[in-house]
């Protein structure tokens, strides 16, 4: 499959942050090989709000996992921020993720024993940021997602929407090159989901971060700068859609 042509929006940086070339991923389930991705080739550009859509089991999550360097392809290459991920060993990959990739998970995946503040602060510890800068940046991020007052609360004391706000703050706090969000509104009601999308759009604009989502949510699709449709492990033409 050829590389999709991307029409540039005015003022948008067209440098590729993510490059996939002929990426395939096969899982073994019991005695059966399941082809989750079959030769995906695509580029995702910097500072874009990109959405990957497709039915359940189409390979969206697998695609995001490969882009996020938490899984490795069976064949093909994944390049993130100019780095071929196959060239990195496990520890180097971890370090790479710590610096360049932020995640927002469907189930929030906050650390239950840490407060909202500590959850947001945690990724900065992993990159060895000094205490004062860490505290300041965490506070800025919590204010950006409107949770400065709730910072001492543990995840079990927060609503679903608040948890996802913390997760977004956690993903953005280290100012990564890419934020990957796997169905971030799936566990939220419509109103909260809309608020979260709005928030993500705001912070994306504010911090000029590249966002890549997988979703079924039509609200989210309508916000995207670029859309990839995945079906049966392949990109389906038209492979993308760029908002004018």
């Amino acid at each position: 499959m050829g590389r999709p042509e991307v029409r540039a929006r005015k003022g948008v940086n067209m440098t590729s942050v993510v490059r996939l070339h002929g990426v395939a991923k096969t899982y073994r389930v019991g005695t059966v090989d399941v082809e989750a991705l079959r030769g995906i080739t695509l580029d995702i550009h910097q500072s874009r709000f990109t959405v990957v859509i497709g039915p359940s089991g189409s390979g969206k999550t697998t695609l995001l996992n490969l882009v996020g360097a938490i899984d490795v392809p069976t064949s093909g290459s994944v390049e993130l921020c100019g780095q071929d991920l196959a060239a990195l060993k496990d520890d180097a990959l971890s370090e790479f993720r710590a610096r360049h990739v932020g995640f927002v998970f469907q189930g929030f995946s906050l650390m239950p024993v840490l407060s909202a503040f500590e959850n947001v602060e945690y990724p900065l510890l992993l990159v060895g940021m000094p205490l004062s800068e860490r505290k300041q940046r965490t506070m800025v991020m919590l204010e950006a997602v409107g949770l400065a007052d709730q910072r001492h609360r543990r995840p079990n004391e927060l609503s679903g929407g608040q948890k996802q706000r913390v997760a977004i703050a956690r993903a953005l706090v280290k100012q990564p090159d890419v934020v990957l969000a796997d169905e971030p509104t799936a566990n939220l009601d419509t109103k909260t989901g809309a608020a979260i999308i709005e928030l993500m759009r705001e912070v994306q604009a504010k911090f000029h971060t590249t966002f890549i989502f997988s979703t079924h949510d039509p609200q989210l699709m309508s916000h995207s700068d670029e859309t990839f449709v995945v079906r049966d492990g392949r990109l389906v033409p038209p492979a993308h859609e760029v908002r004018a």
């Binding site: 520890d91 998970f105 189930g107 650390m111 024993v113 945690y122 992993l126």
Partner: protein
Amino acid sequence: MMLFKIAYRNILRNRRRSAMTALAVAVGTLAVLLFGGFQRNVFAGLETGAVQRSGHLTAFREGYFLYGAGNPSAYGIDDYQNIVQLIKNDAVLQPLVSVVTPTLSLVGIAGNYSGQSSAAKTFLGIGFIPSDRARMRQWNEHHITLATGAEPVLKDDEPSVGFVGVGLGRILGLCGPLKIPNCPFPPDLASERPPIDAPAEDFKDLQERDVAKAAADSHAGMPRLDLLGATAAGAPNVVGLYVASAAPQGVRELDENVIGMPLPLAQQLVYGRQKPKVTGITVQLRRTEDLEKGRARLKALVQDSRVKLEVHDFAELNPFYVQVKSFFGAMFLFIAAIMGVIVLFTIVNTMTMAVLERTAEIGTSRALGVKRGGVRRQFLLEGALLGAFGAIIGVAVAALATFAINHAGLEWTPPANAQPTPFRVELWGRTALIGLTWIALTVIATLAAWFPANRAAKLQIVDALRHV
């Protein structure tokens, strides 16, 4: 810091499970410390008993230790007074030494021909200077409470007064005069033996002289024994011994054989009119920790003596001490090993459950950039903290239990003791035992956490994230 915070909060997250795990570690700590404290008391008791009896070091004539029991008189040290003086005056040994005293070991036959009974028995004799022996009995470096009154204090100016083992007193028919308890009257065998007033011709003169001498002596109320021995020259010799009391020896073999007597009487029996000698020069140190220093100096001092001497310590002279110590040491290791295994499996179980429950969290951490080593460290730290908390609780409970036991007035009869002594646990000040137990159990807990921690570290991120 965050690592500690997460570990600590995760421990508190499942309070009941963490409490049960810490409790298992605490019970292990308690068992090891209480037994260790009790063992210490036993060792201190055994050491005190041995050092009170035979000092820390004894210089013998070369060969005596292996062969001397068959013929002690042949291994006599004749210039012993000079050697004793040499040791006492040595500038190096002086500050270390508590008592230096000569002793004479001998064998012979003890007979009671008092007219009311007639009995004889081979004996193992020890001759000593009563005042030195009394000073040696004062040694109590470990400040433990030993059974008192086990041995009478003899006097230097009563050279013919000694003591016998309780068993020997019973065998020689001295139950009444020595007020030996649990000593039933022997069966009447009078009809089956020659009458006492008609001794065998061979011993007639001997007995007549004996009875006459007994009448002349002034130790009223004390039973008298005739001790028959062979002099160093091989000639038979007899001395009379007045028995002040029967002293329990703890071990039956000793109890039925031992006679303690002042050194002059022992020398008179073994050497007769010859120049008196001794078989050993005993040195009691102030502190056992000076043993090696004392041994080295004593060896250096006696190496130029006229007869070749060899130096042995109290452990070599009291094999029972070594055996009991080894036995208790093995028991301690056995108990410690069992407790270690219990702690190991408890922590493995707890941490395995923790890894299972937190699989998705592990996936999240890894996705955020935590390395495999970071995940491993997290669970190892949790295991270590559980072990450390549990061991601290164990130490505290052990301290309370020790106080309770030591104030409960319990008694027991230790090995080689004839009388009950207070049952005590010596834990106070045992920093090495407490510290090592704490460290060992914390290390075991950490090692136990290794297996689940390693499993957690090896999880595939996407599999972990999918875990429900």
